[in-house]
Symmetry: C2
């Protein structure tokens, strides 16, 4: 068993703090820059690469980071996790999202159930169901084929599946694999559900209600919203709705659904894209084979995270460099910048994944920490961001570490050549240019046009956004966040910080309030 230690108790961390910082502008200039790009690179799964040439590290710092990984026993902690250790100590739960896509270690038997088999079984049940919907065996109560799927969920039951759907939509169209259009209802703002309902043919839509506990206020409210809409069209809601929930939830054995598919307490919402939560909507939208490929990409990338040499393990190395930036260099924010319109909502998913996992101030034993943990994560696709917030990234008073993601090919392969280059070439030229501009900067006699440079970035390069690379990308970030949680010694798998607001909201709705809460309620005319 690994020992769980605070970052600042580690000898290698103290050494890391005493390392001379790298002058990135100098390192990345001339031939040395070229060498760095060629050597500071780790292969990922599915032909992808993690390149960290433009990060503020050198061989000494990397060696130190390697020691840090080993002293904190990142490989051992990961092993404990995937072999079914109670790593989510706060809630006393196992952490099993890796099992939804592969068997990395021993069988995990819990409550008498082989959990890998359980997740596979759910995936198979979903596949069978989706096939029956697609071939017309399962139809609506008027005997018509379902054409549309709409997911009702919030947070982890929304952001991941939605980002993945958006990412694969064009790929599926291009490859003739688009089975059903998907929509998503999440916000308790009634305009959200109303808008989606007015955009779809309600009678020919399968609604997926996703709530692990079966008690999420927003989701149950939106379920009622949808049931209302179905009833208004003279339809029986239970013939138009399926559930994804835990077997112990009030939704599990309900007559309100055509069918229920299961996840369990060992998969956190933000880690559930590869479980039934992502499985139902993605299998219905694109077919079970596409979802299986997505799982396969994630499984392949998971295996790269098993590598015990941190410099050959892309997720571990990414995590280590991030901790160096956060706890030694002192940078409070990280930007995720995919140069792909398909990944337009991927940063929003990573924002949840990272900030909800590692935005903690106590360690896994509940002791206050005296160092910084998870940074703020934000991002928009490039090149759009270049014409927006990049100004601050280049010339602002804070250094923001950057994570670029780029794909050699577009999804639709529809392109034009203007001034001797295609749009795809322009897109890629821009990402290459930005990395160098951020790292090297430029002196100018006009200080307003000077660039300090020394703004670190990494880039993940892949062939195209497809189910495999998307699964691998998702796995990379899940594992990065996990390794960072290990480094900071926090529990990345609970989210107690969201509870207080819920409790107070209930008090407002019950009219049980005073002081500021009452005054705000009056100001808002609730």
């Amino acid at each position: 068993m690994s020992e769980w230690k605070n970052l600042d108790t580690l000898e290698s961390f103290r050494e890391l703090k005493s390392q001379t910082p790298v002058d990135l502008a100098e390192e990345m200039a001339g031939e040395n820059g070229k060498k760095r790009v060629e050597s500071y690179s780790v292969p990922m799964a599915c032909g992808m690469t993690y390149n960290y040439a433009a990060k503020a590290v050198n061989d000494d710092i990397l060696d130190n980071l390697k020691q840090l990984a080993l002293e904190q026993d990142l490989p051992g902690k990961f092993k404990e996790l995937y072999n079914g250790g109670v790593v989510n100590t706060g809630e006393k739960r196992l952490v099993l999202h890796h099992l939804t896509r592969s068997q990395l270690g021993d069988d995990v038997i819990c409550d008498g159930v082989n959990k890998r088999e359980f997740y596979k079984e759910q995936q198979q049940r979903i596949a069978d169901f989706a096939n029956k919907v697609h071939n017309g065996e399962i139809v609506n109560e008027n005997g018509e084929k379902f054409t549309t799927v709409a997911q009702i969920g919030i947070g982890g039951s929304d952001l991941g599946p939605r980002a993945m759907y958006i990412a694969l939509q064009n790929w599926a169209k291009k490859n003739g694999l688009m089975k059903m259009e998907a929509h998503f209802i999440s916000n308790v703002d009634p305009d959200d559900a109303s808008t989606v309902l007015s955009d779809i043919d309600v009678a020919r839509t399968i609604f997926i209600l996703v709530s692990k506990s079966g008690t999420t206020l927003e989701t149950l409210t939106n379920m009622a919203f949808v049931e209302d809409a179905l009833k208004k069209e003279g339809l029986d809601p239970s013939r138009h709705m399926i559930a994804v929930t835990s077997e112990t939830s009030p939704l599990a054995k309900s007559d309100d659904f055509i069918e229920a598919f299961y996840m369990d307490d060992y998969i956190g919402g933000r880690y559930s894209s590869t479980s039934a939560v992502g499985g139902a909507v993605l299998s219905l939208a694109f077919g079970p084979d596409v979802f299986a490929s997505f799982l396969d990409g994630a499984a392949q990338e998971d295996r790269t995270a098993l590598e015990t040499d941190p410099l050959k393990n892309p997720a571990m190395l990414d995590a280590l460099i991030g901790v160096y930036e956060r706890n030694v260099l002192g940078f409070p924010t990280t930007a995720i910048l995919p140069y792909s319109q398909a990944l337009s909502r991927f940063p929003a998913h990573l924002q949840q994944l990272d900030m909800e996992s590692n935005g903690k101030s106590v360690n896994r034993f509940g002791e206050a920490l005296s160092y910084k943990t998870g940074p703020v994560i934000f991002g928009e696709p490039g090149t759009n961001g270049q014409h927006s917030f990049y100004q601050l990234l280049h010339q602002g008073t804070n250094v923001i570490p950057l994570q670029f993601i780029a794909f050699k090919k577009s999804q639709l392969k529809n392109d034009v050549t203007i001034e001797g280059s295609t749009s795809q070439q322009k897109l890629l030229a821009n990402v290459a240019a930005q990395i160098v501009a951020f790292a090297c900067g430029k002196n100018d006699d006009n200080p307003n046009k000077s660039f300090e440079g020394r703004r670190p970035s990494s880039i993940i390069i892949a062939d195209e956004v497809n189910p495999e690379t998307l699964g691998a990308l998702l796995s990379h970030y899940e594992n990065k966040v996990m390794f960072q949680g290990f480094l900071w010694n926090v529990n990345s798998f609970d989210q107690e910080g969201v509870q207080l607001g819920k409790t107070l909201a209930k008090r407002v709705l019950a009219g049980d309030m005073d002081g500021a809460l009452k005054a705000y309620s009056e100001a808002l005319e609730i």
Copy 2:
């Protein structure tokens, strides 16, 4: 004329730094909290309110902020700006976006033109054009009515108009004012244009090409993309496209367009939503009267920014509190949290507005600054964010100041009552609850369930998202950013930080590169 001084040279700023910080949890508890909510509130235009009860200020600090505003002469600097001073010193330009919606001071005559009249004339030309499209006087080359509008632009020519369109779409539908559906093409990623083109009836779409200079790479590339698509359908692109540009741009007198509408160099892209840039697409989508109401809301809010008492001027007060948080309390990031699905892309617009304006390291004279300027801005709509990154906001190791925005009514007025409350009531109960949870926190024997509180927030409360309130909201943030720029003594109206990347991208495309740039180009197989 105002004197332009660095923040840290001001006596009132030195005093501000010596103020005893407020214990927000204590201040917001019990009856005192109620009093704060009732008194720390400033009326805005259109029945809106800016409430800052949950900000970490008290009467002493507010008094000090008032002195700071007067010592830095914020009212005088604003006056200089709207009366046509060359406030954008870097580019030696006037800053005239306020004139697109009102005449706040003297006539501004520039190059022999009364600029207010010029902007009004463009607005009238757009109104006439939009009316002719709506009533069928202007039709496509097959003699059919145009049903759709698609804007081609990036950065300021995209984010603002797009966010405004999304914000008003449901309101327009509800009120029978939806004239044409709008789409937006921005990214040079070829999949962006391809996706939009496959979603619309190209023959019945008016495309709006928006580029002030007429030279933006992404926009010209996407124009060619669209022209290609039109030609493939046997159509003449010049019969399907209008331009919004400056009179001196290569697009201005081109035969490629049905018509061109003008903006000028005195309106920065990120401040152009109330100019022809927002005017063309919003007038076509919703009719000129809706756009006029939007301008009217902005004009009304602009007038609240004229108030010389900082404590009665919502934008100025918001700016001052932000600078206190950034430069005295040391918070590096600000979150924008609209509790309205209609404002789903409003944070992305504010991200550009704020970060591109004030993400600067030199003052307006080009001298390096020794204090922090613009923060990182990010945000997503509530309640969605509550199930995502709020964990870090509540329990993370950095304090992130929050800006809530809430509306008493939904747009579509379609709602359900569950457990005794409507969705709209649940939405509002949540925002009230969050403010109090963030400010007051909660002690718990389990440190994992403890909330430190003391996380400051403000809230803007309005009746509903409609053209007037949206215009007022936009004006509020534009003026807040402007006042912060004055406080930091930076030029908020240029964006030299985006140039270096452009230059390097051109070198890549021209094959004129070496070192790291060449190595990345090879890795990306450009």
